[in-house]
Symmetry: C2
Subunit: 427 residues, 2 copies
């Protein structure tokens, strides 16, 4: 523990908040000093003077330079103010989760303003660090590291996810809204068809899926496109759920769920597909993933990888990487090419669906808020607030162009039977 961290820990203890994770704490009884107020002003300056007022723990208010405030940021003790200035990437989320920072007004819009304010403030500046959520040390996704990291997120309970994901296929990835008024269920089904059409699935094809979630895509492909699927996943809870569903739906003869790492995929297939796993792989393992695809995909085969991405290389927000998605890192397209180029896979199609993910997340957040009573039966307020921030922050990241969603279609070196247009995706 470094000196700064020690100091912060003592401030935490003072605020009675270290790791408590209970409901919103009372404001600190400390007097607000001139330094405190200077820091609050500085905070607004660094975020590019957004329309936020900052309410300190004694009730005093720092107004934005522009005058009218659209959001109030409540900072409830000195430790919170110091921490958010010191390492905002890491601490904003923790402080918000603990209720030591609160936001009056639409949380998504507040986060969008923060993103845009920081972007305008420029890159090289100290401002760029604030809330920009970049971390230098994501956890390693070795075989055992991945198992630990995935367990952290995906094994917290299928029932929890079932409360706010779609009821159709339990998809925890970006849906596809070709029509504006689609429900979440319709958009997830549209996504599954979009993926299957891009892969040109035909009856009898053998498919391997890397990172299959609760198995929705695998069952969908088998049922609607007549293929057989081997689907890999290292989340024990998800695989258990997926197997039971396949059993219930009479698909067990065509869909096999394997609780194992993508690096252990065996066999040869016509099609490789992976929807929402690459975020957890980490760029340093992309060549290895390419080796796996090369080993298991017929040379005339084809594949699709669907992943959150970035406009340039960078790392996941430190707080999300620490508390929500250990080891996660969305790639830039150049980074993704490390999967394809060493084995000369040909990229056929890339589609960026970032606005679709913002819309998907809005649907999720809405259902999440609608089910708070049930969620609170199993989780404490710290968890509830952390997940709200994660969902709202993700919406803001997609609407403000911080994050992208790439679907990349590729083919083996010997594939020449290519469609002459992409019209078939839209019929």
């Amino acid at each position: 523990m470094g000196v700064n961290e020690e100091k912060l820990a003592s401030l935490d203890a003072e605020a009675g908040q270290a790791g408590s994770g209970l409901s919103t704490p009372p404001a600190s009884a400390d007097a607000v000093s001139r330094l405190d107020r200077w820091m609050a002003r500085k905070l607004l300056d660094v975020v590019g003077e957004p329309p936020f007022s900052i309410h300190l723990w004694d009730g005093s208010v720092v107004q934005p330079a522009g005058g009218v405030a659209r959001f109030c940021l409540h900072i409830r003790d000195r430790g919170a103010l110091f921490k958010v200035m010191l390492d905002p990437e890491l601490h904003f989320g923790t402080l918000y989760s603990a209720g030591r920072i609160e936001v009056d007004g639409d949380l998504v819009q507040f986060l969008e303003w923060s993103y845009l304010g920081l972007r305008d403030a420029g890159e090289g500046s100290a401002a760029a660090r604030l809330l920009k959520w970049i971390n230098k040390r994501p956890r390693r996704n070795t075989l055992s590291g991945s198992r630990h990291n995935i367990h952290h997120h995906y094994d917290i309970g299928n029932a929890f996810y079932a409360l706010w994901l779609d009821t159709e296929a339990m998809q925890y990835t970006c849906a596809y809204y070709p029509e504006a008024d689609m429900t979440l269920e319709q958009a997830q089904v549209a996504k599954l068809h979009h993926v299957c059409r891009k892969l040109q699935l035909k009856p009898g094809d053998t498919v391997v899926e890397a990172g299959c979630g609760w198995g929705g895509l695998a069952r969908f492909m088998a049922r609607h496109y007549g293929v057989t699927v081997k689907a890999y996943n290292i989340s024990h809870e998800q695989v258990k759920f997926a197997r039971q569903k396949a059993e219930e739906e009479g698909l067990s003869d065509r869909v096999e769920y394997i609780e194992d790492d993508y690096r252990n995929i065996s066999g040869m297939y016509d099609v490789f597909v992976s929807v929402g796993m690459l975020e957890h792989v980490g760029p340093r393992y992309y060549r290895e993933l390419g080796d796996v695809i090369h080993r298991c995909l017929k040379s005339e085969g084809r594949g699709l990888i669907h992943t959150i991405g970035r406009r340039k290389p960078g790392l996941m927000n430190a707080w999300i990487e620490k508390h929500i998605f250990p080891g996660a890192c969305p790639p830039s397209l150049a980074e993704m090419m490390d999967i394809f180029e060493p084995h000369e896979f040909a990229v056929q199609d890339v589609e960026n669906l970032r606005l679709h993910y913002a819309k998907t997340l809005r649907h999720w957040l809405e259902r999440y808020e609608d089910n708070l009573d049930t969620i609170r039966e199993s989780f404490d307020e710290n968890f509830v607030r952390a997940w709200r921030l994660y969902l709202a922050g993700s919406i803001a990241a997609f609407t403000t162009n911080e994050l992208q969603l790439f679907q990349v279609v590729f083919s083996g070196p010997e594939r020449h039977d290519l469609p002459w247009s992409r019209k078939h995706l839209y019929e």
Copy 2:
């Protein structure tokens, strides 16, 4: 001139062929030795035993290991045999152009067999050098270098290109065949619409085009989509032609052709477009191109780059780079990202149209052969054969997956008005 080159020059002189460039020379009167025959055998071996027989200059034949020959490769003197073994990338084209190597049978299919044979023979082997057409030293595309390089190819006469390009828009880039039976003219118009739709052009938009050829796209955009265009090109002949056409068609008020390098683009635009220029830019200049786009494209603007590409980084065939396209180098997608990622442009769409370029080239080659009498009035046989090989070799490169054709749509960091689906491209 190195030792090997000296030796080859003396062999050339012996064969009476050094730089003659006239019609097919007579076969050498030299006796064929055991070494000659061994080398011919080795040649077949290196190309992975394709169904070629090799006919040497004394009439003796080396048959393929497999037995039945579908193509005869005539090698008309010892110098040709030595040269093609020594540096096939560079010399096959020169020897074929000079008539010292000839091919009986379909030239495109012969070249396809050669590509595929070499690929099967494996990468690390000496075989990979043969005909694989990789060169380590493309010419630099500095401001003056580019002008020289472009002059070499594009200023050999508009009349020559008019003989075999489409009559509709004189497009010297990949056409688009969404329907199989389209004519070249229909497919080029379809390509122009495809590009304009991907750019979501609307009346009043300001467009800058980098590398405009004979100006067909610029006029098409102005006429059919109501935009104004500034189009840059360093080929004097092309710009002269383009200006005259715009004048004739009454488009001079909306289309301005500027004889200058893309690095000197000035002004601010809604749209950046470049079709078939990137091949001539060279990967080492991609960051600079990105800087140019960043400087001239509004932050909410959008753009499209259409280029020949590769599945992984590599260089142009040495013979083509030397004799046809000085300085040319088709990029891999990872290389292209050097244009977009440093300025955080967001890639929205990538489409690979490689089979469309094979089809386009077939149409060009057919018209080229139909117009040989006219071409021979202005060019010697060496030129005629060189261009035949270039067109046929390009077909083979696209059909065998050696080359790709990428259309990449991107948008400025502040562009949020994105289409919800690509359906509008297909209506």
